[in-house]
Symmetry: C2
């Protein structure tokens, strides 16, 4: 059931058919029309979120985990409605979206297990030392607490895993923060179905209705008003650099500036090492084209930059990659707007005097289809023009030909912050790679070897983040269990009687969590 | 030996006697004259810091800890030169400065122990699962790495513990970050002596000279240029709200915005609960005046706001506090500028129509002396004028008389972010206190009971931080072992051969640190 509604806490209301989703595969509008949240909705949702904060942030680990699982269960139960609607709204294939439901559910369950374990509280106790000289030490106890209500902006390219109940929402809930979601206008039906699942979970778990609100709408002002609301204490965003920068500006100009966790743009350099290229250049080239064109290249971790040392092996690589790309089929992009940006970005590279087209993918017959594009240029040209280092969202990549290792290092040093950096190497390359791992780790949140960056595991060790402008805050991740840290702050409680302490810090350790006592972690 | 020098890495150079320190107790200038660092010095210091980064951030835990201890040892060795100079430059008494040397040395040694233990690396391993269905999992390993060169701005009120080798510098070194210190012009001689100790430790430990530079100077532009330098990746600052906001603005407008950890202003509310006030109002009043006037009230955690319910007990409290304050001796403030700001702040409260003077301290005969000041107003007036909630740096405090508990809650809800919030309570107050702990924890980094906030322990559980504007970033602390987290970022290494991994993540665990494997911490 898709009503085109806004969910402000437990209230569902319409507001006229202000906008409709578009099927990118046909360009046709899809029924029904959707309401667009108003400033009054932002006000009500934020007031409810604030009202919900005290009780929600004080839920037990078990209550919070059970809520996350209830959200997961309801999304899974609605899968048969969600997937076909998401296919129509995004042009993404059904198996991909089925997988994304699984990933979304898996994320929620991972955070449930993280919440139950309690390590994220970082509970720390420095017991009183009444006899210490020259001064006694008082009892000091520290734990992380939720920052407050969080605004979440869904991404167009993951209508489930990075949207209404995606990683940002799951990690904010896990931290104990009520969430107000700004729904993405490209998949409003999918958004509403997921929002309804979350809302039902809130009610079923007996939580305050303000724990979750869903504000769909196409306007930029709506998102700006949400970030400007004084009750919002942090923002999660996945989208364009322009969008992320605009939210960062609003957040920094508030009377109380707040953190914005914006995942924005990345071209994900891949270093092609000589021995690997020599030994298995063909396989690497084929794998590259697969990663480049998968999902029309609409991944934040798409390999948009290849860096190699000019020579026969690199020429052969380009030739094989070009041939594979030429036979690649065009793929429908997420929205007409994304397609048009892709076309502009590719056209700019095609007409750039220092850039040569290696190959383009097949021409399609449908609308909004991406033809893959591989370009090449030399290192000097790349270093001379920062535009060549900007992301073209979609299956476009530039191969940089360097004269020697020194130039490879120069290119790396000149890169902006990235989500990922990839080493394609064989054992004979390890000596050279050893010199590049640290420089690449300074530029990226994830350094990987002999794989493609487009696979992002949801786990404890994952970092889906990186220095600016890959994200607004390179100290964090938006995927994996560490994402919970974005919505926490430490508070020290000094000399408080047990009854007034948060449960995590009480002397009887009621949650049976691991705690750091006098500097050493002690298991329960 | 104080030469009035600038230390750019291993180079010491003068540059003319541009400014001198002032003895605040006499107003007289102190020899020698000091050079002021130039834009060229900023450039050189940042270039050296960048050059030092790769090797310094790759030092072993033992090497890094030994360096921190070497700094501590050299400061201790120079104590007999440092303390008298600091007394003359700050007007602070000798025992206080001797204690501050101890604290500074203790901080460095605490971070050495933290570094050796290795928990700060948050080493996390998700082993490969080659047989997982539907897709295998690759080997993923995450650890924290240093963010890059750090700029540190010393505070005037702690010429050692929050200055050249204070908590910001110690925690940045511990994280593996080279440090460029902007020396505070109020204690340049003390600064130079400490800087020389650090520089000697860098050399003695065989580290790259760029690990530390010291740029003294009175100009605001100098600090701005340092924060704007693209090689600087984070900033530590303790000082005024105006100063902190200016640095935040520069940092956010860089091509690559960077985090500023500014500890700025706080009035540290103290809630006087009814039963405690009834039972021991006199003792609380006397303790309050001691905390208020200690060190001329020049602590970030000075109790600048008292909140109580109007009535006889509160009247008696005010009377006793007033009497104690009236007999308190005036104390020399740190600088003529701080004294003049204090006078202005006190005069503004004195002339405020809604504010009554409870008492002032004794009039002094010397220059730059603070006379303590206690004011009172009612809750409605306090809520109506935000100026009454602004910090007056020094021994000035305002007692808010509330009609009832509801008004106490309103006052708390209206507060800006704070470093601390204090509960003065007896057992009979616990019921009421239970309702206020969470609201206070939302406003402050530390909530304490039955003590005064001016004591700040350097330990694992301490949080010396708090929501804006107490600090620029309420997710962190500038005191205690958690301060290291400010200068770290996580990096994930995927499928890297052991030889290319950071030591913290190698399969043989060469540093024998605790690591999280598949979500559970495993001791070495």
């Amino acid at each position: 059931m898709i009503n085109g509604s806004i969910f402000v806490g437990g209230q569902e209301h319409g507001g006229g058919a202000i906008f409709q989703a578009v099927d990118p595969a046909t360009g046709a509008q899809i029924e029904p029309g959707f309401a667009s949240a108003s400033p009054a909705d932002v006000e009500s949702a934020c007031a409810l979120a604030e009202a919900a904060f005290e009780s929600f942030s004080a839920t037990t680990l078990e209550e919070r985990a059970a809520f996350l699982e209830a959200v997961a269960d309801r999304i899974l139960a609605a899968k048969d409605a969600i997937v076909p609607r998401a296919v129509t709204e995004t042009g993404l294939p059904k198996p991909r979206l089925e997988g994304e439901v699984g990933r979304t559910v898996g994320q929620l369950r991972l955070f449930a297990s993280v919440v139950r374990q309690g390590d994220w509280l970082d509970a720390t106790i420095d017991p009183a030392l009444p006899d210490r000289q020259p001064l006694p030490r008082v009892d000091l106890r520290r734990a992380n607490v939720a920052v407050g209500p969080v605004a979440v902006f869904g991404a167009s390219n993951f209508p489930l895993a990075f949207s209404v109940a995606g990683g940002d929402t799951a990690s904010a809930f896990a931290a104990g923060c009520p969430v107000v979601v700004k729904g993405h206008p490209a998949h409003p039906g999918t958004g509403e179905l997921v929002a309804r699942a979350v809302r039902e979970a809130v009610a079923a778990c007996g939580l305050h209705e303000g724990v979750f609100s869903y504000l769909p709408g196409p306007s930029i002002e709506l998102g700006g008003a949400l970030v400007a609301d004084p009750r919002i204490k942090a923002v999660g965003f996945t989208g364009s650099r322009g969008g992320g920068l605009a939210l960062m500006k609003i957040a920094s100009e508030r009377a109380e500036p707040i953190p914005v966790y914006a995942e924005m743009s990345s071209i994900n350099p891949v270093i092609l090492f000589p021995a690997a290229l020599e030994a298995r250049g063909q396989a690497i080239a084929e794998g590259f084209v697969q990663s480049l064109t998968m999902g029309a290249g609409q991944f934040c971790t798409n390999p948009g930059l290849l860096i190699g040392i000019a020579g026969e092996a690199l020429d052969r690589f380009a030739e094989v990659a070009g041939k594979a790309l030429e036979s690649s089929q065009p793929v429908t992009m997420l929205t007409p707007g994304i397609h048009s940006s892709f076309e502009k970005g590719v056209a700019a590279l095609e007409s750039h005097e220092a850039v040569t087209v290696v190959a383009r993918g097949c021409v399609g017959e449908g609308v909004n289809q991406a033809r893959g594009a591989l370009f090449t240029t030399d290192a000097a040209s790349f270093l001379a023009d920062p535009v060549l280092g900007h992301e073209v969202f979609g299956s476009s990549s530039v191969l940089i030909r360097c004269k020697d290792v020194a130039e490879v290092k120069q290119v790396i040093a000149g890169l902006e912050g990235q989500l990922t950096a990839t080493l394609m190497m064989d054992e004979a390359d390890h000596g050279l790679a050893a010199e590049l791992v640290q420089p690449l780790a300074r530029k990226a949140g994830r350094v990987l070897a002999n794989g493609w960056p487009t696979g992002v595991e949801v786990s404890h060790a994952m970092v889906h983040g990186g220095p600016y402008p890959a994200t607004s805050d390179g100290r964090t991740t938006s995927v994996g269990s560490l994402a919970i840290a974005r919505f926490l702050r430490p508070v020290c409680f000094q000399n408080l009687p047990d009854a007034l302490l948060p449960a995590a810090l009480r002397s009887d350790n009621p949650w049976q969590i691991a705690r750091r006592v006098d500097g050493t972690v002690v298991k329960a």
